[in-house]
Assembly symmetry: C2
């Protein structure tokens, strides 16, 4: 198959706009439309119903598993071969835009619609899917549905997770009718591909059409409690101080220097997002600071080295400033490397379509990283506007950028689905 169909850009755009009406809110003063569609909420239920209807309209066979992941299967010419799967999620954070997750689901649907338009059947079956609670902001665990689908998280454990009102995942699955019969951890696709907005500034800034995603960074989160002594800013000489705020400042500066040094790879990122000094008064030396450390690195070994270097610096800072630094690991996930083979296919399709492109790292978590443990996987990024802002009503991409990404997805799926066993 060397003659690839072109997707219907207008139909894709209209679908994204229509789904964006569910959970929509008016995000004044931004003059943007926000979306709030929390996992297993009434809005999520409406979105599931609509998208399932579209799956049915496209003559797909829909099935729902026990955690609410929804699969839509399209037969291939050789039913003995494993399918190519594409998908993402349709739940959102409380202050979302219209593209995060949705593009990957409705883009895969658009691929099927396009194949239908052209009466084209691939060798391998095609499965398109949306996964339950990718965002994790309601029940506290992100990529929940795809993690259960691929065996990383146990179904019973997932079903027992609770939201802030003590509602369990299971109660909410049943309440909105999203609990299906299909057993989890059964599907083994031939390959998995997910198209997503970048949620970062690189493609927008470099004016590129397509990012070929190489993998997902390792994440290490720490909560620091820095204990010094609060004292009068006027009467306490510098040599008598135990300034917890200064300790936090040195650690923040050190983290930045570590990133720039290159000693921990070219892609180390570090952020101190929380800095809370006590008592927090202009003329009192901070006696305690709560601070957070967010480290990212695409290389697990470099991450470990960075963690060790930082830990060593805590000890140096304790001695230098006479403070105590307690660190608690609050999250830690290893790096994920996507399939080079699938990346190469994506790369080739972008080139053939004359779309500018580069290899790029995923900064956030995605369903694809769960499927990467099961089968060859990669992702396609398209640029977001406003430096790729996401999880925000200002999240935006254009019709042509979406179409570019989904045309690459369409060709990539066709190539992979044409491959023999």
């Amino acid at each position: 198959m060397t003659d690839f169909p072109t997707i219907n850009s207008q139909r894709l755009w209209q679908s994204i706009r229509t789904l964006g009406q569910i959970g929509a809110y008016d995000a004044k003063p931004l003059a943007d439309q926000g979306v709030c569609r929390l996992a297993l909420s009434d809005e999520d239920a409406k979105a599931r119903t609509l998208v399932t209807q579209w799956f049915n309209d496209a003559e797909l066979r829909v099935s729902v598993d026990q955690i609410g992941n929804t699969y839509a299967d399209r037969a291939g010419t050789d039913p003995s071969l494993a399918p190519v799967m594409a998908g993402s999620h349709i739940d959102s954070v409380p202050t979302a835009g219209r593209f995060d997750g949705v593009l990957g689901v409705l883009g895969a649907l658009e691929v099927v619609r396009t194949l239908n338009d052209h009466n084209m059947t691939t060798r391998r079956p095609i499965t398109i899917a949306f996964f339950t609670d990718e965002e994790g902001c309601r029940f506290g665990t992100d990529m929940l549905g795809s993690a259960v689908a691929t065996g990383r998280i146990n179904l019973d454990h997932a079903c027992a997770l609770t939201d802030a009102n003590n509602c369990t995942v299971l109660q909410e699955l049943e309440r909105i009718g999203a609990r299906g019969d299909e057993p989890v951890n059964q599907r083994t696709p031939y390959a998995f591909v997910e198209c997503h907005v970048e949620q970062g500034p690189i493609l927008d800034h470099e004016k590129l059409d397509i990012g070929v995603v190489t993998g997902v960074q390792a994440i290490s989160w720490q909560k620091l409690t820095i204990v010094g002594s609060s004292a009068h800013a006027g009467t306490t000489p510098m040599s008598y101080r135990h300034d917890a705020g200064l300790a936090a400042a040195r650690i923040n500066t050190k983290m930045h220097e570590m990133c720039l040094s290159g000693h921990f790879g070219p892609d180390m990122r570090a952020t101190m997002g929380v800095i809370t000094p006590e008592p927090g008064s202009i003329n009192v030396i901070p006696g305690q600071v709560i601070a957070t450390v967010d480290l990212r690195n695409p290389d697990d070994a470099s991450m470990r080295q960075a963690e060790q270097e930082l830990e060593q610096y805590f000890r140096t800072t304790e001695q230098g400033l006479g403070v105590q630094i307690l660190s608690e690991q609050t999250a830690r996930t290893p790096a994920v490397a996507f399939s080079n083979r699938v990346q190469d296919v994506i790369d080739q399709q972008a080139a053939d379509l004359n779309l500018s492109h580069r290899r790029i790292l995923a900064g956030a978590g995605h369903d694809a990283q769960e499927w990467s443990r099961v089968c060859d996987t990669a992702m396609i990024f398209i640029p977001g506007e406003n430096q790729g802002i996401s999880h925000n009503p200002r999240e935006h991409s254009s019709q042509s950028r979406c179409a570019a990404g989904i045309n690459v997805l369409c060709r990539t799926m066709c190539v992979l689905a044409s491959e023999p066993s």
Copy 2:
């Protein structure tokens, strides 16, 4: 007069304890007694009544000025000579101990009681006094009474200041009966001496009995608004960041380096007490930080240089990190140098009493700095326990340390009051 009387240490201690009952509160779990005696409150009124009664009992002539400063005069042998004045304040912060201010008032009273015991009359008259609202925490301006008494602040302006409930100083003066007839800005003592707890760690740490205070530091307060861009900690490469928290960290670190450099004198102090990042989330780069800068320096020229260096560093940081740094000066007071002559007298008395002593800088504001514009002035510090903690129920000094300071005060007043015109 070379034969100096010795004060009654037990009587002084008992007076401090008795006055400490007014506004006392039980500061559990600290097992210390707190004092809350806000300026012109009912508790302040009770304290004024008690101390005024003690002044009368000591056969002093009491008069109250239009801002509520209370003076108690003792005649000398030469009524043509200006008096030696000693005093401090009896108002407190909301969470005070029993010594701040009180020691200087009741110590001066103990000096007069001691002179009475010995039927001693000095050549010059002696005036002891307490001044209205030294703390400034109710009406927002510290050293208010002494500033009005010495002409720095206009009486009408002071009377119109309001507290959090919109009560004016004038209303409260009248309500508690603390407004007197004596015109302000009329008294010109020969010298002014104030004994006070250090409110800092130096004397306690160096195990010294007496601090001979050389002056009060200049203060410069700034509120910084650092504007960067909030962005995703995972997806935003380091080179794309405008991290307002990192800018605050660099400024904090720079301030500390400036203090240690010695370029701005040996006694520069700098503190960043407030650091408030927005949005303050572990995985979001801070887009804005509110931070404060508290600079202290006993030398005005060095303070100006430090301010300029820091201002220059703001510009460097703006360029280096792509942020905007807005600074607002929220307070600025010049340095005060006390009289070398009075310091020498204090020094000599401490030496004659075999008390260990050193020259020391006042880190906080005191009534004495107002009087230093009018006449030769200096202060006597005694050590506080617990690193000199103050404005806290844990503020404490011992009977013997208080007695040492007031014996030095007694001799200093006797020496100064014996001097001819």
